[in-house]
Symmetry: C2
Subunit: 560 residues, 2 copies
């Protein structure tokens, strides 16, 4: 072993061998060498002839060492070997060691490749890349924005880090940059939501004189152009992508982000079953009893599993009661003891011995959402959501507003235009719940990959939406309303979540993958970076500089 | 006039004409139409025949209006017309209107084009684009960094916005990403420095197993590749770019950022002149009397101008006394009454009637710097620094450290490696002032366009620089030192100031151009955005969210 070593760089590895003539000179050095040390070797590349190793790419050759120098020696033990499985925390703390693995090298090279192709696509079509500010102005509504305190002469004032370049790109449209794009860093202070990062990257574009269909077509072409060769086996391009109305998505799948790799759709329970379920329900109006058949999942529907799902679903305030039926004498948990003949169910729906009938009853909207969650959970038991493959679907015709505690809120964002036919009703404030927005979401494997809208370009209508419908303060939006008034062209755009897209690509469509895996130096769910110990106490003197005082710290924390 | 209108988009304009057959339908509409309104016109493109206007690009054709729709009407008066000269503040407030000008359209399309070529260059050479965090950890020393307060569970802690991706890119080198690049957003809270922006863009790259010469060569190739066709008349590519040692630059030009379009070099005053100047100077050690001849500037050296320069120069603590001599009987301000024969000067240096001899005496370093400033000021009187043209020069062999108030500071940054020959002296702390750093600055027309270094890859040496030489706290750098210890390859890189580069390109090399002109939505010198009224008061509830209180605001301000 003292005569061989393996040299590795970012692209591969090769065997080096110490010839007899050099043994006295380097043998001791090689013996004491630690893994992952940085070496400089001069030598001759030789054909290994019969000793070739066909299993490795460089197995035909070896490097005969003539001179060897240790440039930077690694310690005998490393906290993480690149191909090692370790705790998440360890991996994040030693992210640079994880980077040495083939898997990470591939992921980040894939990310760079796809990003480059996205840009080329826009450049070819004459889109102008423009960088918009990240030291920005907060906008009412929306996610929590990070603050950045300003120093003199702006003491006591703050910038905010933007959730998206929305206002700036609309201002560019007002400025005659008729085709804009940017791979933009965006920020959201929502550390608690699962698999979100406080900073993330968005492929952002906007164009003037366009339409919903034109933007959707552009996005389809964008994705085709960016698609990596390594995934060419997946035939996603039966273009255009499927379109589905919001209403249909909610009705068939209980979500506006359906994973269409799961073949199960909802339907009404048979009449007798529904009437049994209705008994004992207080609120008979707006009652539904709906179900879907989860093929091949029967054996996974154990009592234990059921109670886990129940707990998960009960978190949601709209949750409704549900149950699962599997044919008698199967390995599953039940059977369901009821007043109606389950044989009818088995026969009518051709339920096999390993199938499960998932059903839910109560207030319609809650029933749909509950079944929507269960559809994903059941699919997970047979790894349908992990499996390779890509199913894109456009969700369109979203309602503009939803009513929450008596007030109207936007389902997406307030810069969206209603469809032409609904504009008068928006002005008249009639049937606001039913107004359809010119919004389009792109969903991949049940994950929202991005969304866009045609924007309002009429300053009066835009003000009407904020002031009359949403009743939001508009002080900070006055400059924006003014901009629309100086001859803003009609415009619309889209934003694609780059991290999410790359995460799905890098795992062949498996949705149980984290965007952390494709972000070079991610934060944990708690917004921490274990590598650099971020966030940390303020540098000396800076709080004074910004005229600030900490009034409430978190004492449970140990400052590192 | 009621029959004609001009249609404009981002790419040009064309005349539209109302035919007689449509007069009754649209004449009133056209009459009442305001400039900059958004129109949709359907019609037929016609050859104007003899009525063609050869002065404009689309002068051969006109659009005969068949149908006309006003999509978004502009008001009768706009606060700014795109081709209008206006106050800086008005322009920034209505930046989107300024964007409609041909000049702005060209600048931002140029920026996008150059940025794209920069990226292609790196991609072709196998550099991997990696996005590094902007919610980062502060590093000791360097410019003031913006704070970003963190919410629960990190209350009382802060992220900082990075001045550059320095540490992250070095960590990537430790992680085997052997060629990295990024067009990176960077931040500096230095609102008061002239023509700086709180956020700016840096073309950042780093590679392993490289050398100073290799990096410099890469940068030269990078600039050649990105060079826009519109500037091909400037023959900058007598490759490689000129190299100049720091010492020579300081000696000949009094600055490490010499504008080599100015032909004047410094030299010692003639002996007799120097000895006269030395009289009355207290500190005779380290005394110099130096001068340069500013050809063709004599008429501009008025008494008034002199007193302006004196005031500007006196701000600098190292300033030394200076004076200007111009030959007798010229229009200039003086003559200098002295004990030595100025004829000797005139004859020896062939001083013409419109030339000025600028001289300065006192402590050597101060003399050089004073003359360095004056060289630029004098050049400005005859517009040498405004003139078209590009002179690149590499400044190399910088001292690693400089002594300030008894302490050593880095001339650039502490991650820089010393040259091989000086490493031992660095360990021994001998003659630290004379240690040469592997640093290289690229200067264009007297503007620092970027800089880079070969880094220290030995964790012990890196710690030594921070702890022993600079005496800086290293607590936050421990993870970085650790990373270097696990087999970091030798590496180095460069960062190019993109905003500055584009500003110079867009003005054919004129240095009196602001980076604000090529930033879409810039801040003022005071860090304000007049368009969006940034920075502003914190959104309701956010200070509580971050556990902060304002203890000192700036009361002179009116919150908008």
């Amino acid at each position: 072993m003292n005569r061989f070593l393996v040299l590795r760089d970012a692209y591969g590895s090769v065997q080096a061998i110490l010839p007899d003539s050099k043994r006295h000179q380097f043998e001791e050095m090689i013996k004491s060498l630690n893994y992952e040390s940085v070496l400089r070797i001069r030598g001759v590349v030789r054909n290994r002839g019969k000793a070739r190793n066909p299993k490795i790419k460089t197995g035909d050759i070896e490097l005969e060492i003539d001179d060897l120098e240790v440039i930077n020696e690694a310690p005998p033990v490393l906290p993480l070997l690149s191909d090692q499985n370790a705790l998440e925390q360890t991996k994040l703390k030693y992210r640079y060691l994880e980077f040495r693995s083939e898997d990470m090298q591939q992921k980040f090279r894939l990310r760079a490749q796809v990003t480059s192709r996205l840009r080329h696509f826009f450049e070819k079509l004459g889109f102008v890349e423009i960088e918009t500010p990240t030291l920005s102005q907060w906008t009412p509504g929306g996610a929590a924005e990070f603050l950045v305190p300003a120093a003199k002469p702006n003491l006591g004032r703050f910038y905010t880090l933007p959730q998206s370049p929305q206002l700036y790109k609309q201002l560019l449209m007002c400025g005659g940059i008729d085709r804009y794009f940017q791979i933009a860093r965006c920020y959201r202070d929502e550390a608690t939501k699962s698999d979100r990062q406080p900073e993330f990257t968005q492929v952002d574009f906007e164009l003037s004189f366009t339409s919903k269909e034109k933007v959707m077509h552009l996005v389809e072409e964008l994705i085709k152009t960016a698609w990596p060769e390594s995934l060419n086996e997946y035939e996603i391009f039966s273009s255009p992508f499927q379109r589905m109305k919001y209403e249909q998505a909610m009705n068939d799948y209980g979500t506006d982000k359906p994973d269409l790799r799961i073949p199960w759709k909802f339907e009404n329970c048979p009449e007798k079953m529904a009437s049994v379920l209705k008994t004992g329900v207080e609120e008979k109006e707006n009652f539904s009893a709906r179900m879907f058949i989860a093929k091949g999942t029967g054996r996974h529907c154990t009592e234990e599993q059921m109670s886990v799902w129940k707990k998960l679903i009960e978190i949601n305030p709209h949750a409704q009661p549900f149950d699962i039926f599997i044919p008698p004498n199967q390995t599953g948990f039940n059977n369901w003891d009821s007043d109606f003949d389950t044989n009818e169910l088995v026969t009518k729906y051709d339920i096999g011995p390993d199938d499960a009938v998932v059903f839910c009853w109560g207030e319609t909207d809650g029933v749909q959402r509950t079944l929507g969650f269960l559809r994903n959970y059941l699919a997970d038991t047979i790894d349908l959501r992990k499996k390779s493959g890509f199913k894109f679907v456009w969700i369109v015709d979203f309602p503009f507003f939803e009513k929450k505690q008596g007030n109207f809120e936007c389902l997406h964002h307030p810069f969206t235009a209603p469809i032409k036919e609904d504009e008068i009703r928006l002005w008249k404030m009639e049937g606001l719940e039913n107004i359809i927005a010119q919004h389009y979401d792109l969903v991949l494997n049940g994950i929202e990959l991005g969304g866009g809208t045609i924007r309002i370009h009429d300053p009066k209508l835009q003000r009407h939406v904020f002031e009359k419908v949403l009743k939001l303060p508009t002080k900070h939006l006055e400059p924006f309303f003014e901009a629309l008034s100086y001859g803003a062209p009609p415009h619309g755009g889209f934003a694609l979540g780059l991290d999410r897209f790359i995460a799905l690509l890098s795992q062949q469509g498996n949705v149980h993958t984290s965007i952390r895996d494709v972000i070079a130096f991610p934060k944990t769910k708690d917004g921490k970076c274990f590598l650099m110990n971020t966030p940390n106490e303020a540098p000396p003197g800076t709080l004074e500089r910004y005229g600030l005082q900490i009034v409430k710290g978190d004492e449970k924390q140990n400052l590192v």
